[in-house]
Subunit: 257 residues, 2 copies
Amino acid sequence: MSANVAIIQESMVKKRLNNTISVDCVIFGFDFEKLNVLLVDRVLVDEKSGKELFSDLTLTGNHIFEDESLEDAAARILYDLTGLENIYLKQFGAFGDTERLLKPNDQAWLKASGRDPHSRILSVGYYSLLATEKVTLKWKGRNVKWYPVADVTDLAFDHYTILQYALQSLRRELLYEPIGFELLPEKFTLSQLQKLYEVVLGVELDKRNFRKKIARMKYLIPLDEKQKGVAHKPARLYMFSREVYEKTRKEVFDFNI
Amino acid sequence: MSANVAIIQESMVKKRLNNTISVDCVIFGFDFEKLNVLLVDRVLVDEKSGKELFSDLTLTGNHIFEDESLEDAAARILYDLTGLENIYLKQFGAFGDTERLLKPNDQAWLKASGRDPHSRILSVGYYSLLATEKVTLKWKGRNVKWYPVADVTDLAFDHYTILQYALQSLRRELLYEPIGFELLPEKFTLSQLQKLYEVVLGVELDKRNFRKKIARMKYLIPLDEKQKGVAHKPARLYMFSREVYEKTRKEVFDFNI
DNA sequence: AACGGTAAGTGTTTTTTTAACACTTTACGT
DNA sequence: ACGTAAAGTGTTAAAAAAACACTTACCGTT
């Protein structure tokens, strides 16, 4: 028994590596038309000549503090960018880069920032959801901007893969939990809500069937208030009630097998 | 722009920590009656006296090799324990221990194995599914055994939490993908399949409705073969056809919104 | 004041899926 | 041949999904 213990331990100790853990945040924003994601324009400048060597895009992210949980780190990153707190954050996976996956830009970037390009970077991914109209980016002029998710074709490191995972995770989640409301302003119309589902899931939905379906959701509260200043019949506004949701939520495994 | 870059980099470098990445495998096994999980009996023996200080249970896991992906590490751990390869492995989350969460046993264990109890241990969790009857544990006598999941009440580190996440992830997955077949022998009866769903999901299902439902799954192939040696009407045997599944699988987002 | 444009809002029918429910069949062991 | 034990099988009612088109309310323009 003791021998067994020793063997396991020894192998554990030997294999310890120079590891870097980063938390990457896929910050989704919705603006009634499309789904956006917050990206950083990564610019590498040659020290001597001052010439721009390249510029490309990355997800927002940072390394983790010593006394911080993973989720705390994600919340901090989000706070630093937007000033927002108590935002829904969902972990959707861990991604273990090895140097084999690094593109030339990435190699140059790591070298320039004094890091060992041979160490493993483990990224833990979180996504969060924001109504873009609620957000004023704190890092103005700091290369952080909204980009339509549909237009993103390539990102640094393995961030494009990570973004795709985040999107997939968001879609799954959206089907079962009322997280869509996080992407809308406090008061919204049913058409806006429908548009959100259409954009995120990438489908078209029938207006009447959609309304019938969501009418069953007790936590969707109709207000005695209407849209103003629109050149058509003004829509009724609705709110999401977290309180009602918590009370009426069913177990996720409401089995349909 | 260049100033911005420098700021981001500096903060990244400063926060690099002494991190340990481990991959933990939640290896589920099914034996027609209950769901089991493979656990390691962790025994700490006092060097001088040879006395056993404590014994408790952990998930199987190991640190990651330098040239290995996360999934490779999970596959290696599984192979070392069972000799099995090409087994379905699903990542279900990353868990960032900090020293605050360590119980006294864990502190003692880390100290005895020469590791810094103040470094962060980041566990990436994978689960895998086995039919227990297919498995012969390679590590015989090495404290690795099957335990009924229902009987597990506490584990070392945060492994109990991790196990619960794995179980939840397994349940979700089971509802949408035909992963249940991994938990059964190659040929199985419908009652065995039903039992599997009941055990994993923790529900009771109606036999006729269950059969109606799975009759729609084209990848469930009835064989011209029956159970033998049972003291009742022998059941027809079925197989899972991965080929048919791949051909007929629908997009996961077969939206019901 | 009338009119055109625009999105909001509203019901019915058909089809599909789910849920509830009990008896007959077939093999083995005694 | 008889008991035991699990396999196998169909109908009905309720709920959910899918398909589909016209009227309403407000704004801006003429």
